[in-house]
C-alpha cells in the first residue's frame, strides 16, 4: 500500500471548482512529481493534502491512518512537512532560529517557560546540521531578511526538513532561481531523496523529469496522466497539452 493516498478529493471556492476529483498515491522512498499548467489546482491540491484546507469531499490517508481535514500541526506530528512556493519564513529570526523552532525536540517544549533554548546545544547542533544540509553553513547567524533570494529558498526547505518528516512536500522549489542555484537545488533534492519520501510540484520540466520517480499531471482539477518520466514523455495527453516541452 502507498505511504500516502488521496481518494476523490473535491474542493470548491464559492462557485469555482478547483479540485474536481483528485486521486493520488505516493510510494515510500520515491520522489513523486506533480505538474500541470498554471491554475490547474496544484497548489490547492497541496494545501488540501497538508491540512491547510479541508476538502469538500474525498479522503487523505497517510501510513494507513485517515488524516482528512486534520489540523496542520497534527499532520506535522504524524511526519508530514511542507515548504511553500511563496516564502513563509520568520523574518525577524536568524537562519538558525528559523530552523530551531521547527525541531521536534523544541516543539515538544513549546509550552516550557523555564527551558533555556540558547543554552540548548543539542538543538543548536541539530539546527546547524540542517542548515549544512541545505547549503547554508556559515550563514547561521544571518537574519533572514539579509539572506539572498536563493538562500531563502534553501532555508524554506530547511525549515520543512527540520521537523524531521517522513514525507516532505515541496512546492515549486526552483521558482525564481537562476541556473546555478537550480543546479545546486537539484543536488540537494537528490541527496534528500535518499532518506525522505518527497512530493514536489514543479514548473521546470527538465528539473522535475530528472529527479522524479513518478509524475502526476493535474489539469482542470483532475489527474489526467500518471507514470514514470519515460512513460509521460510518450503520453499523448502530455504531448498535446504541450506540458512536456521536452521533445
Amino acid at each position: 500500500m502507498a505511504l500516502f493516498e488521496a481518494r476523490g478529493l473535491h474542493k470548491r471556492f464559492g462557485a469555482q471548482v478547483v479540485l474536481e476529483e483528485i486521486n493520488l498515491a505516493f510510494e515510500a522512498g520515491q520522489l513523486s512529481g506533480i505538474m500541470g499548467p498554471n491554475g490547474a489546482g496544484k497548489t490547492t491540491c497541496f494545501n488540501v493534502l497538508t491540512g491547510r484546507y479541508k476538502p469538500d469531499r474525498g479522503s487523505v490517508r497517510f501510513d494507513g491512518a485517515d488524516i482528512t481535514g486534520m489540523a496542520p500541526h497534527r499532520i506535522v506530528a504524524r511526519g508530514i512537512s511542507r515548504s511553500f512556493q511563496i516564502m513563509n519564513l520568520f523574518d525577524e529570526y536568524s537562519a538558525l532560529d528559523n530552523v530551531v523552532i521547527a525541531l521536534p525536540q523544541v516543539r515538544a517544549r513549546g509550552f516550557s517557560v523555564t527551558h533555556a533554548l540558547d543554552a540548548d546545544t543539542d538543538a543548536r547542533d541539530r539546527a546547524e546540521a540542517v542548515l549544512d544540509r541545505v547549503g547554508l553553513k556559515g550563514r547561521e547567524r544571518v537574519n533572514v531578511r539579509s539572506l539572498s533570494y536563493g538562500e531563502r529558498r534553501a532555508l524554506e526547505i530547511g525549515v520543512a526538513l527540520a521537523t524531521e518528516p517522513r514525507l516532505l512536500f515541496v512546492d515549486e522549489p526552483t521558482a525564481g532561481l537562476g541556473t546555478g542555484a537550480t543546479a545546486r537545488l537539484a543536488e540537494l533534492i537528490r541527496e534528500l531523496k535518499r532518506h525522505t519520501t518527497i512530493v514536489m510540484i514543479e514548473h521546470d520540466m527538465r528539473f522535475l523529469f530528472s529527479l522524479a520517480d513518478r509524475i502526476s499531471v493535474i489539469h482542470w482539477g483532475q489527474v489526467i496522466a500518471e507514470g514514470t518520466p519515460e512513460e509521460l514523455r510518450e503520453n499523448p495527453w502530455v504531448r498535446r497539452s504541450n506540458l512536456g516541452g521536452l521533445a
Binding site: H73, N88, P104, R107, G110, V113
Partner: protein, 339 residues
C-alpha cells in the same frame, strides 16, 4: 526584538536592575521633581497592565482593543472578594487574577482562531459587552456609581502586618508586585514559549506548519495577559479605593494600546514601561499647562507612528546601535542582546 533573536538565560538583567533602582527609590525623589507619590503607584499599576498587554500586542502580534475591560473586571473582583468573602490582601489579589483569567479564558475561546482585523473587532465587541454588563448589573457593580470604599488591605506575612493605607506604603506594595512580575514576564518572553509567540507574530501559518497548535498558544497568551490585567486591576481598586466602570470603556482600552505603541512594545520588552511613564508624566506635566494635553499627546503619537513606528524603544535602540558602531567604526552586528 526586531533584529536579534538572541534570548538571554539570565533572570536579572541590567535593564531590570536599573528599573529596580529607579522605581525602588522613586518615593525619595518624585516630590523633588514636582510630582507626587500617588502618581508613582499609578504608573506602576499601569506598567504591570501594559507589560501583560504587550504579551499579546508586541510579542504575539494580536491587537486587543478591549483590554481595559479586564482591568475593570480585576478591580471589581478584588472589591467583591474583599466585601463578600475575605478581606485579606493575598486572597483578594488572587481572586482578581483568577476571576479575570477565567473571563479571559472564556473570551479567548471565541478569539483564538481569528486573525488580524477579525481578532481586533472581536476584542472590541467583547470589551463593549463587559462594559455594558458592568454598567447595567448594578446589584453587583453599582453601575455608574462604582464599587466604593474598597480598602487598601495590609500586607500580611505570617505574624507581620504592614499597612498600605499611605501612598508611599502602597507604592512599595505595587513595587514588590512589579519586581516579581517583571522577572516572571522576562523569563516567559525569553523561554521557548515566548519564542513561539514571537514566531506567531511573524508568520502564523508557518508556525502551524512546523507543528505548533497555534490556536492553543493564542488562547493561552490571551488568558495570561488577562490574568496580569486582573492583577493590575486589583491594585488599581486599592489605589483608587473603589472600582469604577470608566477604565472598561473603549477609550481606556485605546489608551493602553497607545501607551504600549508609543513606548515601542513591538520592538522591546521595555517599550510598555517607557510608554506608561511618558503618558503619565505628559498628563501631569503638560496637563499643568493646558487642559488640551491629550491633544498634544495624540499629536506626539501620530508623529511617532508616522516617523518612528518602533516608538521610544526603537529610538533608543537606534541611538545605542549608532554609538556602538561609531565606537567600533563598524556596522552594528545583526544580533545583539535584547534591550
Amino acid at each position: 526584538m526586531e533584529d536579534d533573536t538572541k534570548q538571554t538565560t539570565a533572570w536579572l538583567t541590567a535593564p531590570i536592575l536599573l528599573s529596580y533602582a529607579l522605581f525602588g527609590t522613586l518615593p525619595f525623589w518624585i516630590e523633588a521633581v514636582g510630582l507626587y507619590h500617588y502618581l508613582g503607584a499609578e504608573i506602576l499599576i499601569w506598567v504591570i497592565f501594559a507589560l501583560g498587554y504587550n504579551l499579546l500586542l508586541g510579542y504575539t502580534g494580536l491587537p486587543s482593543f478591549g483590554h481595559g475591560a479586564f482591568l475593570g473586571i480585576g478591580a471589581y473582583a478584588f472589591g467583591l472578594a474583599q466585601f463578600e468573602v475575605w478581606p485579606n490582601l493575598w486572597f483578594c489579589l488572587a481572586a482578581a487574577v483568577v476571576v479575570t483569567g477565567l473571563f479571559g479564558a472564556a473570551t479567548a475561546l471565541f478569539l483564538s482562531h481569528r486573525r488580524g482585523i477579525y481578532f481586533a473587532l472581536m476584542t472590541i465587541a467583547f470589551g463593549q459587552i463587559y462594559f455594558f454588563i458592568a454598567s447595567k448589573w448594578t446589584d453587583v457593580t453599582h453601575g455608574e456609581d462604582g464599587l466604593l470604599n474598597i480598602a487598601r488591605l495590609p500586607v500580611t506575612l505570617g505574624p507581620v502586618e504592614l499597612p498600605t493605607a499611605g501612598n508611599v506604603e502602597f507604592y512599595y506594595l505595587c513595587f514588590a508586585v512589579y519586581a516579581v512580575l517583571v522577572v516572571v514576564l522576562w523569563r516567559l518572553t525569553n523561554s521557548p514559549y515566548g519564542r513561539v509567540l514571537r514566531a506567531i507574530k511573524q508568520n502564523e501559518t508557518r508556525v502551524a506548519f512546523v507543528g505548533y497548535p497555534v490556536t492553543l498558544y493564542k488562547w493561552s497568551v490571551f488568558t495570561l495577559s488577562c490574568a496580569v490585567a486582573g492583577l493590575a486591576g486589583g491594585l488599581f481598586a486599592m489605589a483608587q479605593e473603589g472600582a469604577y466602570i470608566n477604565v472598561m470603556s473603549l477609550q481606556w482600552s485605546g489608551i493602553i494600546v497607545l501607551m504600549v505603541l508609543i513606548g515601542g512594545g513591538f520592538v522591546s520588552f521595555w517599550g510598555p514601561v517607557l510608554g506608561v511613564v511618558l503618558y503619565f508624566v505628559a498628563r501631569d506635566v503638560l496637563g499643568a499647562y493646558t487642559e488640551t494635553w491629550l491633544l498634544w499627546f495624540g499629536l506626539m503619537f501620530m508623529a511617532l507612528v508616522m516617523f518612528k513606528p518602533q516608538g521610544l524603544a526603537g529610538i533608543w535602540q537606534d541611538l545605542v546601535r549608532r554609538t556602538a558602531s561609531r565606537r567600533r567604526r563598524l556596522p552594528a552586528p545583526a544580533t545583539e542582546a535584547e534591550g
